[in-house]
Amino acid sequence: MIVPFSHVFMLAALVFFLGLVCMVARRNLIMMLIGIEIMMNGAAIAFLSASLHWQRLEGQAFVLFILAVAATEVSVGLALVVAAHRQTQTMDPDGYHALKW
């Protein structure tokens, strides 16, 4: 009725890919957290398309849990970023070398 299952799944994979590139390539803690958010969004799209494919509600239930985990992760992650910035005055993940002599 709408589109093939594989197309929706490939959209989810591409969104996940963009998040992965953002997470690995960017040198900024905020952008790395944003990459994780994008990846979780891609996972949610994959779960929803699978839910529609098999006409089961479990996929939607897991998207609800993904939303809750994403909210928790981002609040704790941003609190950690603020605490790290307070200690070292930098947002660059290469700038955290307090253990190095």
């Binding site: 009725m1 299952f5 890919f17 905020i30 952008m31 998207v63 994403a70 609040s75 704790v76 603020v82």
Partner: protein, 180 residues
């Protein structure tokens, strides 16, 4: 019914374009605003895929709460020296190669499965049905999620204040050193 396919491809292009713009912006504020567009598109996609309740949650939690939280943190911190190194190929090449490897593998796995070419049938899960399903089958997971949110709240508060304890820990050794 062809209308739904057209809407899907337009929304997919919108999501991919705005996410790609967000990933490549130098200024985090611009990235966050592009990402709001991407999440609104995702909410539309959720609605097409038959989850109106999750579409509303996506707008409220992702596009609303999480992105506003990001914006506040970006405004709170000094970001002048951010990304002064720019976009170097040494940073982007490994990420692109690994990511493309992943996408190619995913495409092979998806398109090889004969069941994946099945056309999705239109269906919709009304919020009442969805809520009854969740609390009948996954009530324990809902409780665990609520505890997780509580733990996250406590952790964020504890990490967020932290300044007084840090000062005490810094000044304490000096005093003991003078006494000795």
């Amino acid at each position: 019914m062809i209308l739904y396919a057209v809407i899907f491809y337009v929304v997919a292009a919108l999501i991919l374009a705005s996410t790609a713009m967000a990933v490549t912006r130098k200024n985090p504020v611009h990235a966050i605003v592009y990402l709001v567009i991407s999440f609104l598109g995702s909410a539309l996609l959720f609605y097409i895929l038959g989850a109106p309740f999750l579409a509303a949650l996506e707008v409220i939690i992702y596009a609303g709460a999480i992105m506003v939280l990001f914006l506040f943190v970006v405004m709170m911190l000094k970001m002048e020296e951010v990304e002064r190194r720019g976009f170097s190929m040494a940073d982007w090449m490994p990420a692109l190669v690994l990511g493309l490897l992943f996408v190619v593998t995913a495409a092979l796995a998806v398109f090889q499965d004969p069941g994946s070419h099945a056309i999705l049938r239109l269906a919709i899960a009304m919020p009442a049905t969805f809520g009854r399903f969740i609390f009948e089958h996954y009530w324990l997971a809902v409780e665990i999620i609520s505890i997780l949110l509580l733990v996250g709240l406590v952790a964020a508060v504890q990490l967020g204040r932290g300044k007084k304890e840090g000062k005490v820990m810094e000044t304490a050794p000096e005093k003991s050193g003078k006494e000795v």
